[in-house]
């Protein structure tokens, strides 16, 4: 792999680990949702680094397409999670 | 020319670093929002330079989207919801 690929791929791993840790440990719900998004970004960065072929070379389009799909899935999941969280704060447990 | 573009891109990155200090330090959400705004504008500038540097003119479109949406965050941050009737 190229140096650039390495740099971004390793950062992707790091983001993944950071996100995973907070998703498991952070006490607040909102930050846990953010943490999962950070994890996702880490995976996306890994995929895009894999697709990179160096300056002036056309990159592999398939990981790009996968990441686009992943981004849309991530925003759907985030929206649903936020809606659930809003519903929770709206009514406190006495039903 | 590409040398110059590369130097300016790097310079912008340093300038962005300063903005990062403000976004980390705050104090308060207003200051942070301000710094985010600066990061956005710097991002636009960097994308424009990168589009020339990497010979990838589509990045100008990315910069355009970022520019058009630059006010959304501040508006969503300061906007207040009406008192909801049905809650």
């Amino acid at each position: 792999m190229l140096t650039t690929q390495w740099l971004y791929a390793l950062s992707g791993c790091l983001l993944l680990a950071l996100g995973l840790r907070s998703a498991l440990l952070h006490p607040a719900l909102l930050q846990r949702i953010l943490a999962i998004n950070v994890m996702g970004s880490g995976v996306f960065m890994l995929l895009i680094a894999i697709a990179y072929r160096g300056p002036g070379m056309p990159p592999d389009p398939i990981p790009h397409a996968l990441v686009l799909t992943g981004i849309v899935v991530a925003v759907s999941a985030t929206a649903l999670a936020l809606a659930l969280a809003r519903r929770l704060t709206r009514e406190q447990p006495h039903d | 020319m590409t040398e110059l573009l590369a130097i300016v891109t790097l310079g912008l990155m340093f300038s962005l670093f300063l903005g990062l200090l403000r976004i980390l330090r705050g104090p308060g959400a207003g200051n942070r929002m301000l710094a985010a705004q600066l990061i956005g504008t710097t991002g636009v500038a960097m994308l424009l330079l990168l589009s020339l540097l990497l010979d990838q003119y589509a990045l100008i479109d990315v910069a355009l989207i970022l520019a058009l949406l630059a006010a959304v965050a501040a508006a969503a941050f300061t906007g207040q919801q009406r008192e909801s009737g049905h809650d």
């Binding site: 990981p63 759907s76 519903r87 929770l88 447990p93 006495h94 | -």
Partner: protein, 478 residues
């Protein structure tokens, strides 16, 4: 023949759209499309049985560039189980949700869940599997939160976050495999994958993600609240089908795609976790105060049995002995699917009629709800593993394989688990058959009682007596 592959995905998805647009006739639509899906599943099973494994290249692009749908004996059998359980639960749900507005929200999500289940079982592509996992997870969460009660929403939110975490880990594995082998097609990958860090890491990450989703002990913490607070038909398919879809993927990866990579030590680890699940789940089920929680913990335990098979299968050489044991595993999964779905549906009837599902206060239930009580008893027979249920055949194979490979520990675990299961089932029945007067007005609705009864009957009688066919189908369809 391959038309059935398309139909199994396109039918529920089209029906979901129509149910969204035409809420007034949605119930009829669901029943009609349910019949069509079941027919497709039968056609697929027939096709697989006569012609062997099937595949279909979507868009006409060769697999790799494009995505292929695949089905073999294992997936075809599970698809038929999904169709039957979903269909029965659909009939039940048409009576369970009283208000038209409830049904209007329920049916499209329900059909999307059905789409996800079928698509997952048929997918032959790693990234496509990720998308189906997300579709399955999101639709399951939306359905679990449908009652809107605080506990349900809270459990659904946790379910969502755990599910997302699981899919992310799965996706990292996919990315790594793409980096290493430049393919996403499962069949291609099976041929090119080599033992080494890439395969090991990818398998570890993907398995970890899937174990979260299939709720293997000690990653099961999210399951009891989510399954325990969802509407009854949703609980039924969550417990019977959704967790099993993730399990199916683990099985696929370990026995097919990565068959040359997995080591006995790793399989033993899965076995140990499975044993933990059997013991802990059964114990918690015994202590549960509410019927639904009991059923949910019993799911944790029953999934544990499925994982006990991993060390056994790995210890057996590929060939007839291993195939026989695999058949036992499938049998166990099938029986649990039918029995647990029927059990949750029956519990739903109890809960609706008496307003609660406290086990202590079930006294005299049998007088008012004889069919429902009978269904619960039948499900109990299957969960304990008494003959002639399919579980009996499955556990028989489990124990035989354990003895044949000298792994006595799993025999002990199975025995203790079965005893505990007997204890928690008889605890319910003891209360239900009590002779104090049942305090609630209980009107039985045939559309609710019969699905529960037929599902549990399938688990105890049909699978037990027609069990040999499962082995034949698995063999013909490979």
């Amino acid at each position: 023949m391959t038309d059935a592959l398309i139909a199994l995905v396109a039918l529920p998805l089209t029906a979901a759209l129509l149910a969204l647009l035409l809420p007034r006739i949605a119930t009829a639509l669901v029943i009609f499309s349910g019949l069509a899906i079941t027919a497709s599943a039968i056609a697929l099973l027939y096709g697989v049985n006569t012609a062997g494994a099937l595949h279909y290249e979507l868009g006409g692009w060769t697999a790799g560039l494009g995505i292929a749908l695949r089905a073999d004996g294992l997936s075809a059998i599970l698809l038929l189980m999904i169709a039957l359980v979903m269909f029965a639960a659909s009939v039940y749900a048409s009576a369970y949700f009283g208000k038209a507005s409830e049904r209007a929200q329920f049916w499209p999500l329900w059909l999307l869940l059905w789409t996800a289940l079928n698509a997952l079982l048929l997918s032959g592509d790693l990234f496509n599997l990720y998308v189906t996992l997300e579709l399955l997870g999101l639709s399951a969460v939306a359905l679990a939160a449908l009652s809107g009660k605080h506990a349900a929403v809270q459990a659904a939110l946790r379910y969502l976050l755990v599910g997302l975490l699981g899919s992310m880990l799965f996706l990292v594995g996919v990315a790594l495999l793409y980096a290493g082998y430049a393919t996403l097609d499962l069949a291609t990958l099976t041929q090119v994958v080599k033992p080494g860090p890439i395969a090991w890491s990818a398998l570890t990450l993907m398995t970890l993600g899937l174990l979260l989703k299939t709720a293997l002990f000690p990653l099961h913490f999210w399951l009891p609240p989510a399954h325990g607070s969802a509407p009854a038909p949703v609980s039924a398919v969550l417990s019977a089908l959704v967790v099993k879809a993730a399990f199916y993927l683990v099985l696929r990866l370990w026995l097919d795609v990565f068959a040359d990579i997995v080591t006995p030590t790793a399989a033993n680890l899965l076995g140990v976790l499975g044993a933990g699940a059997v013991l802990w789940g059964s114990w918690q089920a015994l202590r549960a105060e509410r019927l639904k929680l009991l059923a949910a913990y019993s799911t944790v335990a029953q999934l544990g049995y499925l994982f006990l098979f991993f060390p056994l299968l790995l210890a057996l050489p590929p060939g007839p002995a291993r195939d026989v044991a695999t058949g036992g595993l499938v049998m166990l999964a099938l029986t649990h699917g039918f029995a647990k779905a029927g059990l949750f549906l029956a519990i739903g009837i109890v809960q609706q009629r008496s307003g609660h599902d406290n086990i202590q206060e079930l006294g005299g239930m049998v007088q008012r709800l004889p069919l429902t009580t009978f269904a619960i008893a039948l499900a109990g027979v299957a969960l304990i593993g008494l003959p002639p249920s399919g579980t009996f055949l499955g556990k028989w194979q489990l124990i035989s394989a354990a003895i044949a490979t000298g792994q006595w520990l799993w025999v002990a675990v199975t025995a203790i688990g079965s005893l505990l299961a007997a204890a928690y089932i008889f605890r319910i029945l003891g209360h239900a058959f009590g002779n104090q007067p049942y305090p609630h007005q209980a009107v039985a609705v045939a559309r609710e009682e019969w699905p529960a009864l037929l599902l549990t009957l399938t688990a105890t009688l049909v699978l037990g007596l027609a069990g040999a066919h499962v082995w034949t189908l698995l063999e013909n369809g490979s």
